[in-house]
Structure formats: C-alpha cells, structure tokens
C-alpha cells in the first residue's frame, strides 16, 4: 500500500475526495451568494434554507410523484427558483432603500420560517435519497476507489460553476448584469429593466442553491438542518474569497473544501474550525479577502 507522510494512500485520497465534494457545495453556494450580493446588495441568509429546500423538493418529487433524480435536477431548481422570485417581488424588494443589514435580518427570518416549517412537517431526523442507478458502484482508479456518484457531483458542480461564470462574463445578458452591478441608474437610463434583472438574478442565485441541494440529497441525508450547517461555513468562504470575483468564489470554495479534507487526515479535531481559522488569517493579512476589491 502507498503511504504519503505516513498516511495510507486510500485514506488520504478518500478524505481529499470528501473535501472536494464539500468544496463543490461551498463553491456553488458562495457563487450564488456573490451574484445575489452584487445585484441586490444583501447577504442572503436564506441561502442555506433554500439549498435544503432543493433537496426536499427532489425528495418530494420522488416520493409523492415518482419523478426521478435527473428530472428533479432540473425541476427542483425551477420550483425553488420560482419561490425565490416570489419572495424577491413581495418581501425583499421593499428593503433596497434601507440599510443593507435589514436584508440580512429579513432573510435570516425567512430561513427560520422555512426550516421550522420543514422541521414541523418532517422532523429533525434525515430521510435517505437513493443514489440513481447509473451512479451506483465505484470505479477503481488504481490508487483509490472512486464512488461514481461522488465523482459525478464534483464534475456536475464544476460544469455548473463554469457555466455560470461563462454566462456572466461572456454573454450579452451577463454584460448587462455586470453593468447593472456597477451602476444601476445608468443602465436603467439605457432602457434596461433593472428591477426585473434584479428579480431574475435572485431567482437564478436561489436556483443554483437548489441545484446544489439536489446534488447533496443522496450524499447527506435529506433533513431540515442540512442548510444551516453549511451556510455559516459558506459565509466564512465568502469573507475569505471576497465577493468581487466569480472565478474567485469558485476557486476559494473548492480550495477550502480540500483544506478541510486534509485537516481531517492530519488533525481531525481541527476540521470543523479550520475554515474559520483561515478566515482569521486572511482578515489579518488581507482584510478585503483574497479576490476582493479594495473598499
């Protein structure tokens, strides 16, 4: 058996893979947070709850309607995205003129309500979601066994992250989005419907969270607390990366997942706190974040 730094190879690679998977979720969630923050200037505390909702919608589609994993991968983000659009139109949009902290407080309230409702309906214990048949089993990579589903999660997350990046940086609608982020009144003066753009941005960010939720459903058990466990770590990821750059969010998310995975191998007690520790170091050395613009 191969050993690296006295650690058996399979253990090291296994934890690295787990780290990559967590990193994939950090990347997708922090990406959504960054996009929403860019347009709406609010930190969406409900992001974790909406991630959880994505997983639950997938579970409901399967158990109540018999709709399988792949259609759910499209349907759940659409459903949760529409929910997000309605929330933005009705309760979030009145807050844009106020201090941005009110947006944080409102979405925190939203998160409590959503999580509380699901906890009432389904209890706190998790419900399993079966791995789709295509991804059952594992592949021998020579140095480790890769469970197929986990490989798929990393690839799917990468594709979605890069696609989001391409849409924002390379397309016409993305150009409008970036322009509106820089200077909304000017873009509006050119005849772009900025309020609608804002609404759609929120919907897209939320859909991204829901997509991550569906991906997560077969890995973690589907339970009402799965989002809140993630969201605080994702906030730290956002602070570390700074919210200025799309690619920055993606890279930071994956990198921190890997760092967390490595910590699990070398110092398991520290794995829960290592990301926050990185946040402390980054704040001391470079307060604006790795990819953040100067204030």
């Amino acid at each position: 058996m191969i050993t690296i730094f006295g650690i058996p190879g399979p253990l090291l690679f296994g934890q690295l893979l787990l780290g990559l998977i967590n990193g994939a979720f950090y990347a997708m969630l922090s990406l959504g947070l960054a996009i929403i923050f860019g347009m709406l200037n609010i930190i969406n505390f409900a992001h974790g709850a909406l991630f959880m909702m994505g997983a639950f919608v997938a579970w409901m589609l399967l158990n109540y309607l018999g709709i399988g994993y792949f259609p759910a991968l499209i349907l759940a983000p659409v459903i949760v995205g529409i929910f997000g659009l309605i929330c933005e139109k009705t309760i979030i949009s009145p807050l844009y003129k106020l201090d941005h902290l009110y947006g944080l407080l409102l979405t925190f309230g939203m998160a409590l309500v959503i999580e509380g409702l699901f906890r009432n309906a389904y209890g706190s214990s998790g419900m399993p979601y079966r791995i789709p048949d295509v991804f059952q089993g594992a592949t021998d990579l020579g140095f480790m066994f890769l469970p197929n589903y986990r490989g798929w999660v990393v690839i799917a997350a990468l594709i979605v992250c890069l696609a989001t990046w391409a849409i924002i940086e390379k397309t016409f609608i993305g150009a409008r989005l970036r322009a509106a982020t820089e200077n909304a009144p000017l873009v509006q003066a050119f005849g772009v419907n900025v309020p609608r753009l804002i609404t759609l941005t929120y919907g897209a960010g939320v859909a991204l969270a829901a997509f991550a939720g569906v991906l997560a459903a077969p890995i973690y058990s589907v339970n009402p607390n799965m989002g809140s466990n993630f969201i605080i770590t994702v906030f730290a990821v956002v602070v570390i990366g700074g919210m200025g750059s799309i690619l920055g969010s993606i890279v930071t998310g994956f990198a921190l997942g890997v760092i967390e995975g490595l910590t699990k191998v070398f110092y398991p007690q520290g794995s829960a706190t290592v990301i926050f520790l990185v946040m402390v170091i980054v704040l001391i050395v470079r307060p604006r974040g790795l990819f953040g613009k100067a204030a």
């Binding site: 009110y102 409102l106 998160a111 409590l112 309500v113 402390v280």
Partner: protein, 310 residues
Amino acid sequence: MWGFSRAQAIAFVVMVALIIVCPWVLYPVFLMKVLCFALFACAFNLMIGYVGLLSFGHAAFFGMGSYIAAWTAKHWGITAEAAILLGGATGAILGLVLGYIAIRRQGLYFAMITLGLAQMVYFFCLQAPFTGGEDGIQQVPRSPLFGVISMQPDMHIYWLVAVVFLLGFLLIHRVVHSPFGQVLKAIRENEPRATSLGYRTDDYKLIAFVLSTFLAGIAGGTKALVFGIATLTDVHYSMSGEVVLMVLLGGLGTIFGPVMGALVLSAMENYLAQFGAWVTVTQGAIFMICVLAFRRGIIGEIGAKLRIQL
C-alpha cells in the same frame, strides 16, 4: 441626572418599581431569565444601536461567560459575585481577541465575520473537555454571595440578578451619554468624518465591543448560576439570532427596547415551548414582520406616538 431625560427618568422609575413588585406576582425564575436576557440584549444594543455594527456572534461571549462562571463555581467553589465577574472577564478577553479581528471590516462583512468567529467558539466548546460536550456543565451550585449570604432561595438570588441587571443597564446608559458615547454615535453616522476629526475609530469600536462582550459575559455567568447549568445552547448561533430579535422587536437604539424585547420573547418562548418547532417559525415570522413593517420596534413606536425618546 445620568443623562436621563424626564420621560426616560419616569420610565426608569417604572421599570425599577416593576422589578421590585413583580417577583411577588410572577414566577421569580422566569423573571430572572428575563433580566439575564435583558442585560444581554442591552449589551448587544450598545453595538448595533450606538456604533451601528451588527454582531451576529454575541452568543459566543454569553455562552463562554456562562461556561466559565459555571465551571469555576462548581470546581473551585468560588463565591457568586466572583463567578459572575469571571464570566464577564471571559467575555471581555474573548471580545478583545475576536473584536480585534472583526472590526477590520464593516457592515455586512462584520456580521458574517462575527458569526464565523462565534461558530469557531461553538466548535471549541463542543470538543473541549471542560464544557461537558452535549451534556454541558450541570448541577452548578448557587454559591453564597460574598461567601456569607445564601443564594439558594429563589428570592435571594433574584435580588442579586436585579442588582446586576440594573448596574449593567446604568453603565450602558452612562457610557452612551458620555463624550465617548458621542464619538461612537459620530462613527455610526459618518465614519470617514470621525476619522478626519482625528478620532481613531477602530480603537473606539474595539472598546465599545469589549464593553458589550463584557456585559454579555456577565449576563451569561448570571444565567448559569440562576439555572445551575451551562450548555451548548448558550453558544449556538441561534442564541445570537435570538438576541438580535429581542433588540429588533423592542426597538433598535432605544434604551428600554432591549428590555421589552427580552420580556416579550421570553414570555413567548415559555408559552410556545409545548409546540416544538413552531417557536422557530414564530421567531422567523416576527423577524420578517419587524423588518418589513415595524422597524422602530415596540418601544420605538411608543416613543414616536408620545413624541419622546425612550
């Protein structure tokens, strides 16, 4: 006197009178819970109401204060006032360290950073042996005050809690109305301007933060002695959310708002405890209603109706 306006002085006298009368009418343990949370909320309000910084990690200071007070009272058998002060010192030291890191960013980032730092404290408490993990520190003795006055009867410790609360309340009020407090308000209104006038705004913010976390630690330590238990609930981020809600509901930046918020929320929790997760839903709904339609809070609205500052 003490910077109280006429209306505030009247309100203060009413509050003191209620604190004296209520234990004969209501359950003293419930009132002590309210007073501990009221002090905690007042400490939090110092940051959001007067410096304009939303700390989403105040549970860390409350919880650590509660753990240290509980541990020292149980294992060293120190007196009640020493345990409470140690709780406060813990809050202050932790606040100094975490505050030094957090004040590097403002606004939303400050909220996210304090939340992250507090989560680190939570994981520390979850793993550290002295906190007892999931069980917490149980059977904390109500050690006698100054080593002589027994704190076992509820009515005895009630007066201690009442005095601690009133001292903390007056301290905050005094600080807010001091020249130091005026600088804090200047920072809240326009930080670059305050800097250009020659104030080291970061120092002011850090001192205010440490004061706030000191009182949060005092509140936590007092709560640990009253209930004889310190648990992970006190350091969990939902506790940070609760104190935000208390202040928001009572009235941001008002003196009596946090007290009112603590009273209403504690009463609501007592009443709703039997309904399980509906507590969370109700809290979330109150959050949303407050932000959307009730931003002045209860005391703020009353003040606006009567055209006075409370």
